[in-house]
Symmetry: C2
Subunit: 278 residues, 2 copies
Amino acid sequence: MPTDLHPIVPRDPPRTVAAFRDRLRELNGRLPRRLQQCADHVARNLDSIALSTVAQVAQAAEVPPSAMMRFCQIMGFSGYAEMQRLFREALSRGMPDYATRLANLKAGGAGHASTLVAEFVEAGRQSMEALARDLDETSLTQAVDLLARARTIHLAGFRRSFPVASYLSYVFDKLGVAAVLHDGVAGLGQRSLLRPGDALLAITFAPYSEETLALAADARAAGMPVVLLTDPPATRLAPVADIVLTVTEIDFGAFRSLSATIALALSLAVAVAARRDT
Amino acid sequence: MPTDLHPIVPRDPPRTVAAFRDRLRELNGRLPRRLQQCADHVARNLDSIALSTVAQVAQAAEVPPSAMMRFCQIMGFSGYAEMQRLFREALSRGMPDYATRLANLKAGGAGHASTLVAEFVEAGRQSMEALARDLDETSLTQAVDLLARARTIHLAGFRRSFPVASYLSYVFDKLGVAAVLHDGVAGLGQRSLLRPGDALLAITFAPYSEETLALAADARAAGMPVVLLTDPPATRLAPVADIVLTVTEIDFGAFRSLSATIALALSLAVAVAARRDT
DNA sequence: CTGATGATGGAATGTTTATTCCATTTCTCC
DNA sequence: GGAGAAATGGAATAAACATTCCATCATCAG
């Protein structure tokens, strides 16, 4: 008698998307073939549920609708409708008339300040979505490894990359990680601070700043590992860096919001600090 | 015979949300009472249509379902279902499995770098949505007026606000607007640059930096207009500034992505430059 | 005041979609 | 290899929903 296999049987339904994922993981492997097929498909297309009918989801998962219904019940819901409600609520909380508000701001009239806010917010959102979509996790992990091993981290970023570099400098300081911001205030004298065992984190976007590239080349020549944060395609830059992280930042007009770049840079910093502490 | 009032009668349906808005504007004022009520409500809750039934939107608009149906037809659709399809498609294009991707990143494991990226992206998105939602357009316009009249714009921002101030410095330079970044590199000597006819744009978040507040107080004493960019509630700061712009930045861990702050600051800069050129 | 035109609300209808049921197949364990 | 249990697919049913229709009400010109 399989008395300990009853986690399969119903219980009360997940009330958040996170809880839903948990239940999905809990069930993984213990399900019969068709239901596992449902689980796999649903796990990969969570957001399509909010807007699709059972028939559509079932067809996409290549199972009959009745199998999908059983799946919903095993997940703890009374049926598909109840499961769908969870995702619909999550979706409507996600954008609480945000689109409308943006449109209203944009309608404020060309050149008006609130229109600009809407545009920059939109550009920032797209940039961050692109980051989430295209992030190269492998390179990111390697970059963290590499920087975590460095004694001192040197930061390079000029012109529009300077805000990012200076923010990193602040964050590293708060996190207790030794970092030097090469801000060029007193000429290039800081270059003498480059020592074996250090690493360089350089940030530059096309058209690349000469100072940054020169610094990277110097560091490379001195045998220091170099991590480069830039925009794709980074073909020209591959030779001067050990790891290249790319981030697609959407411009509005001539300027970019830097949202995605900062998010990536911050993550890098926090991950490096966490790695060091252990 | 009202031969020129036939724009009310059907034609082919709007195929984009923008076209939908146009048609809405075109119809405005020419509709009988109940239908106008529908139009008003729909205009204000565009995104709720994708997820609601006729009965729900009708109830929210305080009209019977049949009135809502008539409204759909006047908009050019065959009925509510067709109208809803437009918004559902817009919604699913808007987040192309972005939520799923984020969740996958988060699942990478606590402390892992890609998890952090997901968290910072999420925080950034929320911050920007909050900005779009809560932006005080009046204050923004006043700030633009005020800064556009200044001969030179002084920029103050230290610690975590420094990246924003330095980016503004870069942007103003590109835009040909005279601006001075008070970066404190050479002590506080730059204070002597404050002259009548200038204005100060200060950025600071709780806990407020003393330098920034002191500079603002000085500027105020010298009769210069002061615009302050900070987080709500800004009660303590109201006395030292002419205009206070607030922006809610969501933290993740101890750090913030600055997305919303930068978007607002950039908009301010571009609007000021545009105003000056005319 | 009256008749015509248009607007309105609610009940009736038809369609889509979820859900259940059951006959058949597939596994599992002895 | 066979008995029992579980799983499966598809057809039948039920629920939710959109849509239409019509009787009633308001508006306005003459």
